[in-house]
């Protein structure tokens, strides 16, 4: 174990040891550790293998800016987990992704031997011919260059998704962010402060951990922030993306939060950038900030003997941190010829750390198997910043820590449309004009000194308060950086033979850029796509800046002329499951649902509704159950839940005129107490709805519509009512009413005992409507015959539905009543030749094609679609809906819905409805055919599954009871 004594390791709890497993070995860490820190503390240096060459990799950023330590659960439940941010917990059992045989002996490391045959873009050139083999190549490449593997057997874990609101979102709880959040809250704003780290403080916690004054300030800021009621703090929460109008995706380990904020203040700081030199990817080479994080946050000694490569004062501070942690700092190698002008230089001298000004690390010498480093080879740098061989020195060490520069964490700002420009003053990109409601503070804004960050945070908060109308005082100016640039302009050292990595995610090294440039990829966007730099899981957080510097030098242009690539959500990868969150799948159920479920109903989805398809009867097959339900109704009595039917009330002085305009039929002379079929078309004359209209009073109508179409149809009705300025009152009461249809020759007998309505044929004839009481509930009863039998459709308040249903079932026992489901109803209506809109019609069907010309009122002044229907009627009709039937003894394959009618080599039509079995004893259906094929008796050829052609005969409809005797 290489744990340091307290106060190092402020994020871990040494009283809570935790055992976990990595690559089959058991290790011990502490609560608060992440996988990377705990493994490093246990002496594990190889945490993963690289993407392409399968080179060993260790800790690099300790900030989730690289994917060197990427693991998956041994259980296969989770994959592509980042070791830098994966908390250890009891039972954690993970292994590295993308290896064959484990991370120590990965057999795929052999690929590096063929590295010279695999420059960037090699697959574009090598594997596109012959084209037929590309899928094979693709599969093989994915195998050797993949990340984690997805286990398709996983059960998704539902995670919550929530909405949140605030006046000001402050992103980043470092010095600038905390200072800004407090200032904004004190100005009266509702502030939300988020940080992706589990604790507040950010760079204050590790970069300035040895500075007592800074620590006191940070603790004071955290205390003040915690005490403000209108300041909410969410640590462990990353801002996944910025979307228009300040919609923000917040992601923590529990949930995705959709935040609506009035303004956003970005204080996301900077990412430390690596230097590029030979073997700069080996375990033991890491960013200086990673070493500081290991020391101060996790109490882990990063190395025993280190070489520090620096190009700013941060490197000097880091070297002292290493020294204080007991690391033997063998050399501080400063790439700058002039070195450090601040107090840090003398402190390094006081610590007896050897200082090499104007030098750079030329190469890291690997241990056997590249499992670590054993030395750093340093060389002097000339006036042009290029290394020279004279004066080369070999320094034994097991670690190289780099502090050569920074890149603003600018993803959110890019997403919000901000353009960045390069400042030679600080050798860094800085944001330009910010859009309204967006503010930046701290290091992302080019402000580096600790006190300046606090000032800049307050400044940005006041600007936000002005924007939100909470402050009208003076806003101070942003501080300017007065010290040496914190970034080196070109921290890249050319090695003629060995790989110097620029993008660790994609295994892209310096020569790849030179080659790509020679091939003509001299534009930053093209270079990105050709080399794939910045396109790995880290999205270029550690590579884009250096790539831009390299391209600028290759083009001999400035960085501003070279340009940069942009950033898109998500800022860090988010599992699809997390993005999906808890899935809401609204379901509508009728009041009788529980009864159905308790009586064997097999449910189907019908739009949002759950409906009984049929009721299982013992071990009978589905089709037998359906046919039995249909026969029972034909012979006795059946009951179906039709509560899903659309139900609309139309009232008021203009109700009649309104219905006449909406529907094709005539209703002006419809007597009170009578029901009429109603057909509605759109302006193009296409059938969009059908149902019945019952007249309850002179100015009051009850209208039914299709289950799935009523919502849209009701909105359309409302729209027309407004356009026409009619005095009509509409109400969609679909869900407020239960409805059931009792049908069959015995239905009247069953009903008689349960209602005060006179059910005699004379008093309540077919297509009548009555209001009365049924089983004590106020009811509207319609005499309709969708299934072609004597029947009563009973509509009652939803809360009474179950009671009425149950009483009807009980009362019908002696008559052999039984429930029937949607499938039996579809069969029975098909036997009667009734169409179902949207099944037997499509988006082009007009009434003449569907045989519904009789439903069009003659000599009407106006109805929607009237003009179009008139035009279409004058044109040559191209299809017609007809009945089709198969011989009673036919035994061959039968078509399904949508199977085609074939005439020679032409498509002549299609089947719209089919029943393989019916109460008639033979298969029947409806189909669109050419008008010349519509004559009953015409033989049709139907292509069924597998291309088998079968013959059906056009039949007159209705198939059942053509004289309509049974429903009267």
């Amino acid at each position: 174990m290489s744990r340091l004594p307290t106060p190092a390791g402020q994020w871990i709890n040494r009283d809570q040891p935790i055992e976990f497993r990595f690559e089959g070995d058991t290790h011990r860490g502490f609560a608060g550790d992440v996988l990377s820190s705990a493994l490093w503390a246990n002496g594990v240096r190889v945490l993963g293998r690289s993407f392409k060459y399968h080179r060993p990799r260790g800790i690099y950023s300790m900030a989730n800016l690289d994917v060197n330590a990427m693991v998956e659960d041994v259980s296969g439940r989770r994959t592509n987990l980042r070791g830098d941010v994966l908390p250890i917990e009891p039972g954690l059992d993970v292994c590295a992704v993308n290896t064959a045989g484990g991370v120590k002996r990965d057999r795929l490391r052999i690929t590096e031997r063929f590295g010279s045959f695999m420059p960037v873009g090699f697959y574009y050139k090598a594997f596109h011919r012959p084209r037929s083999l590309f899928p094979f190549y693709e599969r093989q490449m994915r195998k050797v260059a993949g990340l984690g593997s997805i286990n398709p057997g996983n059960t998704p874990q539902s995670t919550p998704k929530e909405y949140a609101f605030c006046d000001l979102l402050v992103v980043g709880a470092g010095p600038a962010g905390m200072s800004a959040a407090i200032e904004a809250a004190e100005q009266g704003l509702r502030v939300l402060l988020v940080d992706e780290q589990p604790h507040m403080g950010a760079s204050g916690a590790w970069q300035f951990a040895s500075d007592e004054a800074v620590q006191r300030t940070c603790h004071d800021l955290a205390r003040r922030a915690g005490a403000l009621d209108n300041l909410e703090i969410r640590c462990g929460t990353q801002v996944g993306g910025w979307y228009a109008d300040h919609w923000i995706a917040l992601i923590d380990d529990q949930r995705l939060t959709k935040l609506r904020t009035a303004a956003t203040l970005v204080a996301t700081g900077c990412f430390e950038q690596p230097a590029v030199f030979a073997n700069n990817d080996l375990p033991g080479v890491m960013l200086g900030s990673a070493a500081q994080r290991l020391i101060h946050l996790y109490g882990v000694k990063p190395f025993e003997r280190a070489v520090v490569l620096a190009a700013n004062s941060d490197g000097y501070r880091m070297a002292l941190d290493l020294d204080h942690a007991g690391v033997d700092v063998a050399a501080l190698v400063d790439m700058r010829l002039a070195g450090e002008a601040s107090q840090w230089a003398s402190r390094i001298s006081e610590a007896d750390i050897p200082l090499y000004l104007g030098h750079a690390v030329y190469e890291a010498h690997p241990r056997p198997g590249k499992s670590g480093i054993k030395a750093a080879l340093i060389r002097p740098v000339d006036q042009q910043g290029r290394v020279v061989a004279d004066g080369e020195q070999h320094i034994d060490c097991d670690g190289i820590a780099m502090s050569v520069g920074w890149m603003p964490a600018c993803g959110l700002l890019y997403q919000a449309g901000v353009r960045f420009s390069y400042s030679r003053h600080i050798e860094q990109l800085v944001p330009g004009q910010l859009p309204a409601g967006l503010f930046a503070a701290g290091r992302v804004n080019g402000v580096f000194a600790f006190d300046d960050q606090l000032t800049d945070g307050r400044r940005a908060a006041l600007e936000a308060a002005v924007y939100l109308g909470k402050y009208d005082g003076i806003v101070p100016k942003a501080p300017t950086h007065n010290d040496a640039p914190p970034s080196h302009p070109y921290p890249i050292v050319v090695h003629e033979k060995k790989k110097a990595f620029v993008d660790l995610d994609e295994d892209i090294h310096l020569k790849d850029f030179v080659n790509a440039h020679q091939e003509g990829y001299d534009n930053v966007e093209l270079l990105k796509r050709y080399t794939t730099v910045g396109m790995g899981p880290s999205q270029g957080k550690l590579s884009n800046m250096n790539a831009t510097r390299i391209l600028a030098r290759l083009n001999d242009t400035s960085i501003n002329e070279t340009g940069t690539t942009t950033s898109r959500p998500m800022h860090q990868p988010v599992s699809i499951n997390h993005l999906a969150g808890r899935r809401f799948a609204p379901l509508r159920r009728t009041p009788m649902h529980r009864w159905h479920a308790g009586h064997g109903a097999q449910f189907i989805h019908a739009g949002d509704w759950l409906r009984p398809e049929y009721y299982r009867d013992g071990s009978k097959a589905r089709d037998d159950c359906i046919l039995d339900e249909a026969r029972r109704l034909r012979q006795g009595v059946g009951l179906i839940d039709v509560g899903t039917l659309g139900k609309i009330t139309v009232s008021g002085p203009d109700a009649v005129a309104f219905l006449e305009r909406i529907y094709t039929g005539r209703f002006a002379k419809q007597p009170i107490g009578r029901v009429r079929y109603a057909l509605a078309c759109d302006e193009g004359g296409v059938i969009i709805e059908d149902g019945v209209i019952a007249r309850l009073a002179e100015d009051r109508f009850y209208v039914t519509a299709t289950s799935s179409g009523v919502g849209a149809f009701y909105r359309e009705m409302q729209r027309w009512a407004i356009i026409w300025q009619m005095d009509v009152v509409l109400a969609n009461v679909t869900g407020q009413l239960a409805a059931m249809n009792i049908a069959g020759p015995q239905s009247r007998h069953v009903m008689e005992a349960l209602t005060d309505i006179d059910l005699s044929a004379d008093a309540f004839a077919y297509l009548g409507v009555r209001e009365g009481m049924v089983v004590g509930a106020t009811a509207t009863v319609l005499r309709v015959g969708f299934v072609g039998e004597l029947g009563y459709e009973i509509h009652v308040p939803a809360s009474h539905g179950l009671q009425v249903w149950t009483k009807l079932i009980n009362a019908g026992q002696t008559e052999g009543i039984g429930p029937f489901g949607v499938e039996a109803q579809r069969l029975l209506r098909l036997e009667k030749g009734h169409i179902i809109v949207s099944q037997d019609t499509d988006a082009l069907t007009h009434p003449y094609e569907a045989g519904l010309a009789w439903a069009i009122g003659k000599n009407k002044q106006f109805f929607i679609g009237q003009r179009s229907i008139g035009i279409m009627n004058k044109q040559l009709q191209t299809r017609k809906l007809v009945g089709i039937a198969f011989d009673e003894n036919y035994q061959g394959p039968l078509p399904e819905e949508c199977h085609l009618i074939i005439d020679g080599s032409d498509i002549a039509g299609r089947v719209t409805s089919i029943a393989h079995r019916s109460t008639l004893g033979y298969a029947i259906g409806l189909a669109f055919v050419r008008p010349d094929q519509a004559e009953p008796g015409t033989l049709l050829c139907v292509r069924t599954d597998g291309g088998c052609m079968v013959e059906a005969r056009v039949a007159a409809i209705p198939f059942y009871d053509p004289e309509n005797q049974r429903q009267n």
């Binding site: 609204p586 509508r588 159920r589 509704w609 009152v729 869900g735 009671q803």
Partner: protein, 225 residues
């Protein structure tokens, strides 16, 4: 003819399965207690979900409704989506466009009276069947539940003002309750969506440590019958 009229809440079965103790509102059974009263009272302050669907409801719509309601002694607001208390402990809301929605308290006096008077020759007043499920969500964590199902900033909501929104994907009306010792939100949803929304709210509330409670938590006068 065997006349039985016992209207049921869409979540009656769910409460039955939880062993609810029943009382009555009008002719409807209502779950008075689902747990020990002491536990229910605690839950009310932290996070509780309650079914009050059996409370009688009425919709009226038409150009003459405001006048007619006034004639019936029911004071309504002129402001869109503003609610007023009913004398029997219920509430009446102006849904705009000449539409009003009323729900009685457990005494169930005003809505049945209004329903009885409807259709007696008045012009421009039409009844609208309302069988909405009524759920009450209360306690300090109620907002956390709402945050997971609906995109409304309740910090900006005013007591007594109805919010028409979607909760868990279904159309829903939410009324922040005024004058209460704890935060209470009254949710109305279409009867056919009642069970779905209830089960969704129960799941989320459960994850946040909430409980299902009986209506006596909010209407102390209700008794087990």
């Amino acid at each position: 003819m065997n006349l039985i009229e016992t209207p049921l809440s869409p979540v009656h079965g769910e409460l039955e399965a939880r062993g609810a103790q029943w009382g009555r509102v009008g002719q409807s059974p209502i779950a008075v207690h689902v747990d020990e009263p002491r536990i229910e009272r605690q839950a009310r302050a932290t996070l509780a979900l309650c079914d009050c669907s059996p409370l009688s409801k009425l919709g009226v719509k038409g150009p003459g409704t405001a006048t007619w309601l006034g004639e019936q002694g029911v004071s309504v607001s002129d402001e869109a989506f503003e609610s007023r208390a009913l004398a029997d402990g219920g509430v009446v809301v102006n849904l705009t466009g000449g539409e009003f929605f009323a729900e009685s308290g457990p005494a169930s006096e005003i809505v049945p009276k209004l329903a009885a008077h409807l259709g007696r020759g008045q012009t421009g007043v039409f009844g609208v069947e309302r069988q909405d499920a009524t759920f009450l969500l209360s306690g300090g964590k109620a907002r956390q539940v709402l945050a997971q199902v609906c995109g409304i900033d309740f910090d900006q909501a005013r007591p007594r003002q109805l919010i028409l929104t979607r909760t868990a994907g279904v159309t829903c009306a939410v009324l922040p309750q005024p004058e209460s010792d704890v935060e209470i939100y009254r949710l109305w949803v279409d009867h056919s969506h009642g069970l779905y929304l209830w089960q969704t709210l129960v799941q989320i509330s459960g994850e946040l440590g909430g409980r299902v409670v009986g209506a006596a938590c909010f209407y102390p006068g209700l008794q087990v019958s």
